[in-house]
């Protein structure tokens, strides 16, 4: 299988381990990642507050490049990139005049043919391939943290249940983990305020970490670089604020699955976290046999 790949800036910088683990996993299951040629910034949290058309043109250029490269789908592992690309595509789909105008700005043909997918969607599709490679069940109690950008707004991203998403839980159950029912699956982590209002982010992400710890989690699993950074990078700040000493590691879903597939922790970038992932790498008490995934209406 072949799929377009848009790493975005986070995966080249603060979240290199996400890029590394996506690539490692893709290699292991035979998924060919074709990087979008000459890709640019998706606009992230800045473009749409500065200029509406800029916020459309930036993602549209990425999609136009993917279209030109003959790709049908682009995987955007970063949740913010996924959200920006999906939102721009939805808006341009709904307004042909705007689509023409943006194509004019880009001086590139843009048809809106390329679908944007996130990492959970792709992994969900590859369940059989993943299952076949599971060699070392990741027998941990995990709190799956989805954040906001993967599932919202539901009309645009049309992915999973916005208030109680299940896709990551399903994948981790497949890897032998025990996904917990906990209260903060989609609570806000503070997002980009990490830089300007670190105090707020410490409080908000601290609440999430505390919730996961209270539920008995051994690790928090995420699929968003921003969430990861707020729960991992801001841990000392949140611990200082709450007076707690939570040492709960935060893993990307691709890292957790990679471990279950017996991939090299270093190849998955597990050494890069600020909260050491050591405790979940080895010597863990064995869990009961794999529990059934939670089923709800």
């Amino acid at each position: 299988m072949r799929i377009g790949y848009f790493p975005g800036c986070s995966l080249l910088g603060s979240s290199r381990e996400f890029d590394e683990s996506v690539r490692a996993l893709a290699g292991a299951i035979g998924l060919e990642l074709v990087t979008v040629p000459d890709w640019n910034c998706c606009g992230a949290s800045s473009a749409h507050v500065l200029d509406h058309k800029l916020s459309l043109a930036l993602p549209a250029r990425i999609l136009a490049q993917a279209e030109a490269a003959g790709l049908d789908e682009v995987l955007a592992p970063c949740a913010a990139c996924f959200n920006r690309l999906s939102s721009a595509r939805a808006e341009l789909d709904a307004d042909p005049a705007l689509r023409t105008e943006i194509a004019g700005i880009l001086e590139l043909p843009y048809q809106g043919r390329v679908r944007v997918v996130n990492v959970l969607e792709v992994l969900d599709r590859c369940q059989a391939e993943l299952q076949a490679r599971m060699v070392a069940p990741f027998q941990r109690k995990v709190a799956c943290y989805y954040g906001c950008l993967l599932v919202r707004p539901p009309r645009v991203v049309a992915f999973d249940r916005p208030e109680d998403p299940q896709s990551m839980d399903r994948l981790l159950a497949l890897a032998g983990a025990q996904p917990l029912d906990w209260n903060h699956k989609t609570e806000c982590c503070g997002a980009a305020f990490s830089v300007t209002r670190t105090d707020l982010v410490a409080r908000m992400s601290g609440r999430i970490v505390a919730g996961a710890a209270k539920a008995g989690a051994e690790a928090i699993v995420v699929a968003c670089p921003m969430c990861h950074s707020n729960l991992d990078l801001r841990r000392s700040a949140s611990n200082a604020l709450t007076g707690a000493d939570h040492q709960l590691p935060v893993l990307f879903i691709t890292q957790a699955l990679g471990l279950a597939m017996g991939l090299d922790p270093a190849a998955l970038g597990l050494q890069r976290h600020l909260v050491p992932a050591g405790p979940v790498l080895s010597g863990a008490p064995a869990l009961a046999p794999q529990p059934a995934a939670r089923t709800r209406p």
């Binding site: 916005p162 208030e163 109680d164 209260n183």
Partner: protein, 663 residues
């Protein structure tokens, strides 16, 4: 040769101020076939009408064109006048010079020219008009009411009191509906059962009302005044005639763990049960899905105990066919379940309940006998949060419409809670307070001001359980979106009112329109609120849209008045502007080739198949026939017919073409 009279009305200044009416009259005189043309200030007035009648006699007119206002307004007036003069009323037509000309154009030459054209067009039509006779349809003076809630009970009582027999069909074992589950009612806080149960008994005892509980409509055929309804009477496994309602069987049934639907799952019942003590009829029914005998083939304890031998394990469903003249739909609503809200715990927290469950907790006849005890552990809740608009006015996850009753019942709930739990704290999260209605806003103010209920304008984003307490997270939008976190013992979600289970299937069975949410559609949102687009079928209560008790009762009485009006005559007179299929002498018999495209196009099921037979009984041809009782004269079949074999009487293709050709 036609002798047409034309009467131009000034309508005071309405037409005369813009159109040169004298010129119109003069120009019309030159149209071939017109023998008389005059203008007058008010043609609808008594002198105006007399002028028309006199002209008919004097000029031996064969047709009349009144050029005045919209036919919606005065067509019956002028047709009556024409009939009084001895002419067939359908030989009189109106040209609309007011809405179609003077009101929408400036004064001037082109406006008068258009008026002349409008009159000429109508003259060409009237020349080709045929005398028509109103259609007489017999009426079966018996009504069928579907649904035994307050809407159905009210409609049945009103029709019965007007002297007509009514069959009241209710799908559950007792009449009473949702209203019988309520504790107190807004805005007066009078007990729901106290005002409803006498009505239930009255309905059951009324000599004109036949009650069929535990029964559902199986199928319906026919048309206004002449419906045939087949009702499935589900087997109760209890002989209603022998049963005295002593209740011995219900107390001794060994099966005790079945969630009680009447108490919204907050208590349990046996497999043989009466839904509630005040049920009408007060006769038990066996729940076959849960009865030990039906599951294992053993038990029959109730049969052994019954002092009158009324238990019938071999009883089968029974189909009853009834002739009825009118139908009132009063099938009610259902509430969206708490399990539809992932952000509020997906229905897994026992103390997050819906409005109807709160009614049962607050009701004297409920599982707690009216004491405030939360479902999880029976403790009196010290803090209760009420969340209005749970699913209502929520385009992304619920329904876009307002459920209408929640603002009021939430205020009532908060008030009842405060009356029962004096030291308790009650919070209400709301978007807007919609309390339009007599004494309604005063009621809400009373909750806020006298009973100290804390109203917070904002939505609840999440509810979760932590350390045995519910944590309600929301925002106060009147304080700049200040985040609110309230630790609560119980949360009541005012979940959206939805159409009753199976509404879509029922609507299709009855050929009644419904909206995207499967509420039945009224024929006109303002002027025909209780009629459906199928003649003879009327609406009452929440099967049409969310509404409260006073409105439901008013609408039910409205529907009953429509039925009583229909039943006031033994024959139904309908306008003859209906479709007719062409008939010709042999050997053609009819231009219809029997393709029956018209049948599939007809929205009213008015087209039947008719066999034209030879004297020996052999079928020569199968052609379409229009049932004039059902046809609404919409003309869809005319447009569909490939051989132009169908015409609307009074609106034939020939007439329309003649109108166009005259321009």
């Amino acid at each position: 040769m036609s002798r047409i009279g034309v009467f131009i009305c000034h309508c005071g200044e309405n037409i005369g101020g813009t159109v040169d009416c004298a010129r119109v009259a003069e120009a019309t005189r030159a149209v071939p076939g017109v023998v008389h043309s005059v203008d007058y200030k008010y043609m609808c007035s008594d002198p105006g009408q007399s002028m028309i009648k006199a002209a008919i006699a004097e000029h031996r007119l064969t047709g009349v064109v009144v050029a005045a206002c919209s036919p919606r307004m005065h067509e019956p007036t002028f047709r009556n006048a024409v009939a009084e003069a001895g002419l067939n009323p359908y030989l009189c037509e109106m040209a609309n010079l007011r809405e179609h000309c003077s009101w929408v154009h400036e004064k001037g030459e082109p406006t008068t020219a258009k008026a002349i054209d409008l009159v000429r067009v109508m003259v060409e039509k009237v020349k080709r008009n045929q005398p028509l006779q109103p259609i007489q349809v017999p009426v079966t003076k018996r009504a069928l009411v579907l649904g035994g809630g307050i809407a159905g009970i009210q409609a049945a009582l009103d029709i019965a009191n007007a002297g007509h027999p009514v069959v009241l069909v209710e799908k559950s074992p007792s009449i009473g509906g949702h209203m019988s589950q309520l504790s107190e009612t807004f805005p007066t806080l009078d007990c729901s059962q106290c005002i409803l149960t006498p009505r239930m008994v009255e309905a059951a005892r009324h000599p004109n009302i036949t009650l069929m509980t535990y029964a559902e409509l199986e199928s319906l055929s026919g048309f206004i005044g002449n419906f045939q309804a087949t009702i499935r009477r589900k087997a109760r496994q209890v002989d209603e005639k022998l049963c005295t309602g002593c209740g011995l069987c219900t107390t001794k049934c060994p099966n005790k763990k079945i969630p009680d639907a009447f108490n919204e799952g907050l208590s349990t019942r046996g497999a043989i049960y009466v839904p509630f003590p005040q049920a009408v009829p007060n006769k038990p029914v066996i729940d076959k899905l849960n009865c030990t005998f039906y599951k294992t083939g053993k038990c029959k304890l109730c049969e052994k105990l019954c002092p009158t031998g009324a238990i019938r394990f071999d009883q089968q469903d029974e189909l009853v066919t009834l002739d009825v003249g009118a139908i009132v739909l009063a099938t009610g609503f259902k509430l969206m379940g708490t399990d539809q809200f992932p952000e509020y715990g997906y229905g897994q927290y026992k103390d997050v309940i819906d409005g109807m469950q709160f009614e049962r907790l607050a009701s004297a006849s409920g599982p707690t006998a009216g004491a405030m005890k939360r479902p999880s552990d029976g403790k009196p809740p010290e803090t209760v949060v009420f969340v209005s608009c749970s699913g209502s006015r929520d385009r992304s996850k619920g329904v876009p419409y307002c459920s209408k009753i929640c603002c009021m019942y939430t205020a009532k709930h908060a008030m009842l809670y405060k009356h029962k739990q004096h030291g308790g704290k009650a919070y209400v999260f709301y978007m807007d307070i919609r309390s339009c209605g007599k004494d309604y806003d005063e009621f809400v103010r009373r909750a806020i001001e006298e009973d100290d209920v804390a109203y917070i304008r904002g939505r609840v984003s999440r509810i979760y359980e932590e350390d045995g307490q519910l944590v309600v997270m929301g925002a106060d939008t009147l304080q700049g979106g200040r985040p609110m976190v309230i630790k609560a013992d119980m949360v009541v979600l005012a979940t959206a009112v939805q159409s009753q289970e199976g509404s879509e299937a029922l609507a299709q069975k009855l050929h009644v329109s419904y909206d995207p949410y499967h509420f039945f559609a009224e024929a006109h949102p303002k002027l025909k609120p209780v009629e459906t687009n199928t003649a003879g079928i009327y609406l009452a209560g929440t099967c049409q849209a969310p509404r409260d008790i006073p409105e439901t009762v008013a609408q039910a009485s409205g529907a009953a008045a429509k039925v009583a009006a229909l039943f006031a005559k033994s024959e139904l007179t309908r306008e003859p502007q209906v479709a007719v299929v062409n008939r010709q002498p042999p050997p053609v018999f009819s231009r219809c080739v029997g393709c029956f495209l018209c049948q599939s196009a007809c929205a009213y099921q008015a087209i039947e198949q008719e066999q034209i037979k030879a004297r020996d009984g052999s079928v020569i041809k199968t052609v379409a026939r229009v049932n004039p009782g059902l046809c609404q004269g919409c003309g869809t079949c005319v447009a569909t017919c490939r051989t132009k074999a169908i015409d609307i009487q009074g609106f034939s293709n020939e007439q329309i073409f003649a109108e166009i050709m005259s321009l």
